[in-house]
C-alpha cells in the first residue's frame, strides 16, 4: 500500500461523518459540511489518480474542484432566497 492509497483511505473515511452530519443538521450547517466534503472529495480524486497512476483521474479532480464550487454556490443562493 503506497502512501497515496493510505491518504485516500483516510480522506474517504473522513467523508463519512460529514455525510451523516449534513443529513441530520440544520440546512446552513449541512451546507458547511457539504463545502468541506466537496474539497475532500476533490483531494481524494487527486490522491487516487497519483496512487493508480491513471491520468484521467486528474481530470476528475479538476472537474470536481469546479463543480463542487458551483454546487455549493447554488445551494447557498437557494438557501438565501427561497428556503
Amino acid at each position: 500500500m503506497t502512501a497515496y492509497f493510505a491518504a485516500a483511505t483516510v480522506l474517504i473515511a473522513a467523508l463519512a461523518p460529514l455525510i451523516v452530519f449534513s443529513a441530520r443538521a440544520a440546512a446552513e450547517d449541512g451546507l458547511v459540511a457539504l463545502n468541506l466534503g466537496g474539497t475532500i472529495a476533490t483531494l481524494v480524486f487527486l490522491v487516487l489518480a497519483e496512487a493508480t497512476e491513471r491520468q484521467p483521474f486528474f481530470d476528475l479532480a479538476v472537474v470536481s474542484a469546479v463543480l463542487s464550487f458551483a454546487g455549493g454556490l447554488a445551494y447557498a443562493r437557494f438557501l438565501e432566497r427561497w428556503l
Binding site: L18, I40, L43, L46, F58, V66, F69, L73, E80
Partner: protein, 105 residues
C-alpha cells in the same frame, strides 16, 4: 529523501483535512464551523499537490493538473465560504441590513 518529503506532505495535508472535519462537527454555530473549512481548503490542496509535483515533476501532466486543482481550490474556497456565511446571515436576520442602533437620549 523525496519519499520522506512526500510522506510528510501527505500527512500534513490529510491532517489538515481531518482537523477541518473535527472542527465542523464540534463547532457551536455556522460561523464557527466556516472558520474550520479555511485550513482544510488551503493546507490540504497545497500539500497534496506539492507531493504529486515532487513525485512526477512540475511540468508533467500530473504535476500541472495537481497545481491547477490546488489553485482552483485556493481561489474558489473563500468565495464559497463567503456565500455560505451570507446565506446563513440572511436566513438568520431576514436581510443584509445591519441592526440599527438606538440613538442615546
Amino acid at each position: 529523501m523525496t519519499a520522506v518529503l512526500v510522506w510528510i506532505l501527505l500527512t500534513v495535508g490529510v491532517l489538515a483535512a481531518l482537523a477541518g472535519v473535527v472542527g465542523v462537527l464540534v463547532a457551536g454555530n455556522v460561523y464557527d464551523r466556516l472558520h474550520f473549512i479555511g485550513p482544510a481548503g488551503i493546507f490540504g490542496p497545497v500539500c497534496l499537490a506539492l507531493a504529486v509535483v515532487l513525485d512526477e515533476g512540475p511540468f508533467s501532466q500530473a504535476g500541472l493538473k495537481s497545481i491547477l486543482v490546488a489553485l482552483l481550490l485556493l481561489a474558489l474556497s473563500p468565495v464559497l465560504i463567503h456565500a455560505t456565511a451570507r446565506a446563513a446571515y440572511v436566513r438568520e436576520r431576514g436581510g443584509l441590513e445591519l441592526p440599527r442602533e438606538e440613538p442615546d437620549e
